[in-house]
Amino acid sequence: MQPVSLRNVSKVYHLDAVEVAALNAVSLDIEAGRFTVISGPSGSGKTTLLNLIGCIDRPDRGEVVVAGQAVQAMTDDALSDFRARHIGFVFQNFNLLPVLSAYENIEYPLLLGKVAPAERRRRVRDLLDAVGLAERGDSRPGQLSGGQRQRVAIARALVHAPALVLADEPTANLDRQTGASIIALMHTLQQERGVSIVVSSHDPHVQAAADASVFIRDGLIVASKEEAAA
C-alpha cells in the first residue's frame, strides 16, 4: 500500500485581494518504506505539500490518499484521530511541549491513542534508547540541546508506529554536524522500523540521504527521482 497518493491537488491562498496558487494540480506517489525528500526554493510549495500529505490542511481541488484512505471528506475529528494513528510529525523548531519531560513528550501520542500504561512505558523506553537519550528521559526540553530536542521529537513522531513520518526542515535549526547526525538517525530508524519518511528540506546533505527526491517549484513538481532502494 502506498503511504501517500496525490492526484491533481491544488491549493490556493487568498492574501487580501491576491490569490496565490501554492500548489497547482500536483500528482505524487510516495512509495512505502522510503526516505523521500521534497526540495525546492523558498515559497515553492514544499510546506503546503507536506501539510496536505500530513492532513493538517485541505486541498481546494484534487484527491489526497494517505495510508490507503481518502482524507478530504473526513470530518475534523476523524482527521485528528487519523493523524494520531497514522502520521508522525517532526518540526523545524522541534515543537516539544516545554512543560513536559522528554519521556512525557514522547508518551503524549500514546496517551491520545489510549495505549495501556505498561505498553506506553515499554515503547517510550525503547525509543529513548533508540535515539540515544535513555538517561535524559526526565529532562525538560529547556534542559536539552537542539540536537537532543530533535531526537526527542523524532521519538515522539515514531512512538505510535505510524505509517508515515513527515519532517519539515528538521535540520534547519541545527548545526551541520548535528543536522547530519539527525538525518542519519532518521534514516536508520526508517530502515529499522520500515516507516515511510517524507522530509522537506533544501539542505544538500539531507537530499543526499534520500531514497527518493521530489523537486518542486512554483507549485508544480518539476522533477522526481527514485534512488535505488536501500
Binding site: N51, G54, I56, D57, D76, D77, S80, D81, R83, A84, R85, G88, F89, F91, N93, N95, L97, P98, V99, L100, Y108, P109, L111, L112, G113, K114, R156
Partner: protein, 471 residues
C-alpha cells in the same frame, strides 16, 4: 487523553508563568474574600434580627383578622377571648406540640404613664404578657448569636410590677431610682415638668425645704411607683398604680422611649376590668425557623376545624416585622451588586489571562492538533486550566476569608446601627454559612469557567497550519 494526564498538563501550564497565575489568583482571592465577608456580615445581621424578632414575637402569631393592619389604635375591638382554648388545642396537637417551644398570649395596649412624684407623664405602648413564657421565648437562640435579650424580671414580682424602656425611664425621671446605666436625666429645658418648675419657682424657700425633707422621708417604693391611664373596652378611662421594677434598653430608640411590659392579668384588668378578658395575639415560637411552613399549615387547619367561628389569621415574623424583609432586601441588593462587580472584575482578569495564554501557546496548540488532539481536546485543556485556577483561587479565598472572619470576630469591634440605642458587636458568619460558602465558591468557579470559555473556543478553532506558522 485521560483526566489525570489532562489535569497534570493543565497544572504545569498554570505554573509556567507563575507571576501571571499568581496575579490572577490574587484577583480571585480578593474577590471571593470580599464576597464571603460581606455575605457573612449580611447573614449575621439577618440572623441577629430574626433571633430578636422570634424572641419577642415568636415565629407565628394568631391574631383576630384585621388587627395587624387596623387594630393598633383599638386593641379591645380585636381581642381573642378564646385564647386559653386555642393555646390548649395547640399544646395538645400531635403535629404542633413537637414543633412548638412556646405558645403564649399577649395583649397590646396604649396609654399614658405618669410619674406624679416628679410631675411628668408620657404616652406608652404597653404589652401584657405571661412573664415565665415570655422569658422562655427570650432564650431562643437557634443560630448561636450573641444575644442581647435579658429575661424580664416580672416573673415572681407583684401583679402590679412593670418593666419599662430606658428611654421611657429617662422621660419619667426614673433613671436615678432605677439605677439605669448611661441614662442622662431629661433636661430642664426640654423634658422637665412645667408643673414642678412652676410650683418650685413660686414656693418660698422654707416650703421647698420642707417638701424636700418630706420627699426624702418617703419609702423607697414610692419613688418608682407610676400611674397608668388607659381606655377600657367600654371607652371609660381606667387607672392602674404600677411599680417600675426595672428599665431595660430595648435597642431601638423609638421603642425604648415607649416600651412597657406588665403582667397579662394586669393589662387585662386595665382594659377589660371585670369583663371577659381577651388578648390581641397568641405567639408561637418553634424550635427552628425551617419548621414554619409545616407549623403554619397545621395551625391553619387546626383553627379552621376547631374554631371555625373565630375570624382569626396567621402572621409570620416577617409580616409582623416588615423591617426584617426590608433589611434582607437591602442587604441582598448590596450583596448582589458587590458580587456582580467582583464577578465582572474576575471575569475580565481571567479572560485576559487565558487569552494571553492562548496567544503565547498558539504554536503549541498547532502542534497538539497536528499530532492528533481534537479541537475538543484543546478546549478541554484550557477549560481545565480555568477550572484549576477557579478551584485553587476559591480554596485560597476561602482560607483567607475564614482567617479574616476569625480576626474580625475576635476583635471586639462594635457599631450602632441606625435607629438603635446601643452598639452591637461586628461579627461575620462565614464558616457556619454553608449556602453562602457553596454559592460563592460555585459562583467563582462558574465565573472562571465562563471567562475561559471564549479563549478556549478561540484556541480550539485555530487552523493547524496557521497556528504552526505563528512561531
Amino acid at each position: 487523553m485521560n483526566a489525570r494526564a489532562l489535569l497534570s498538563l493543565a497544572l504545569r501550564n498554570l505554573l509556567r508563568n507563575r507571576r501571571r497565575s499568581l496575579a490572577t489568583l490574587l484577583a480571585m482571592v480578593v474577590g471571593l474574600t470580599a464576597i464571603l465577608l460581606f455575605g457573612g456580615y449580611r447573614a449575621n445581621i439577618l440572623y441577629g434580627m430574626q433571633t430578636g424578632f422570634v424572641q419577642q414575637s415568636g415565629h407565628l402569631q394568631i391574631q383576630r383578622r384585621g388587627y395587624f393592619l387596623d387594630g393598633g389604635d383599638n386593641p379591645t375591638a380585636y381581642g381573642i377571648a378564646d385564647y386559653r382554648k386555642i393555646i390548649a388545642a395547640i399544646r395538645s396537637d400531635n403535629t404542633l406540640a413537637p414543633l412548638v417551644v412556646e405558645a403564649t398570649p399577649s395583649l397590646r395596649l396604649g396609654g399614658i404613664a405618669g410619674n406624679f412624684t416628679a410631675g411628668v407623664s408620657r404616652s406608652v405602648m404597653a404589652i401584657g404578657l405571661v412573664p415565665e413564657e415570655s422569658n422562655r421565648m427570650l432564650a431562643w437562640n437557634d443560630y448561636d448569636m450573641v444575644s442581647y435579650a435579658r429575661p424580664l424580671p416580672l416573673a415572681g414580682a407583684g401583679a402590679d410590677a412593670v418593666v419599662i424602656g430606658s428611654g421611657l425611664a429617662r422621660k419619667l425621671q426614673l433613671c436615678a431610682v432605677l439605677a439605669v446605666p448611661d441614662c442622662r436625666q431629661a433636661s430642664a429645658a426640654g423634658d422637665a415638668p412645667a408643673t414642678k418648675n412652676a410650683t418650685d419657682a413660686g414656693a418660698p424657700e422654707d416650703v421647698l425645704a420642707l417638701s424636700a425633707l418630706e420627699k426624702a422621708q418617703q419609702p423607697p417604693a414610692a419613688q418608682n411607683r407610676i400611674e397608668m391611664l388607659a381606655a377600657t373596652a367600654g371607652g371609660a378611662p381606667n387607672v392602674a398604680s404600677l411599680v417600675v421594677i426595672e428599665a431595660k434598653n430595648m435597642g431601638i430608640k423609638a421603642i425604648d422611649d415607649l416600651y412597657m411590659a406588665m403582667n397579662l392579668s394586669q393589662a387585662q384588668k386595665l382594659i377589660y376590668g371585670a369583663g371577659v378578658p381577651a388578648v390581641t395575639a397568641i405567639a408561637l415560637q418553634l424550635h427552628h425557623t425551617a419548621q414554619m411552613p409545616a407549623a403554619r399549615a397545621r395551625l391553619a387547619a387546626l383553627l379552621e376545624s376547631e374554631f371555625p367561628d373565630e375570624p382569626l389569621e396567621l402572621l409570620d415574623f416577617q409580616t409582623l416585622n416588615p423591617m426584617y424583609g426590608q433589611t434582607d432586601q437591602f442587604m441582598g441588593s448590596m450583596f448582589g451588586f458587590i458580587a456582580m462587580l467582583i464577578g465582572v472584575i474576575v471575569l475580565f482578569t481571567i479572560g485576559n489571562t487565558m487569552s494571553t495564554a492562548v496567544m503565547e501557546r498558539t504554536t503549541e496548540i498547532g502542534t497538539l492538533r497536528a499530532i492528533g488532539l481534537r479541537r475538543s481536546g484543546i478546549r478541554r485543556l484550557f477549560m481545565c486550566e480555568a477550572l484549576l485556577l477557579g478551584a485553587i483561587g476559591s480554596a485560597a479565598g476561602l482560607v483567607c476569608a475564614l482567617g479574616i472572619a476569625w480576626l474580625i470576630n475576635h476583635s471586639g469591634w462594635t457599631w450602632t446601627p441606625p435607629g438603635y440605642s446601643y452598639a452591637y458587636l461586628i461579627l461575620v458568619r462565614v464558616g457556619q454559612n454553608t449556602p453562602l460558602l457553596v454559592g460563592s465558591i460555585v459562583g467563582m468557579i462558574g465565573v472562571t469557567m465562563a471567562s475561559a470559555w471564549w479563549p478556549a473556543r478561540r484556541a480550539a478553532k485555530l487552523e493547524i497550519v496557521d497556528a504552526l506558522r505563528h512561531a
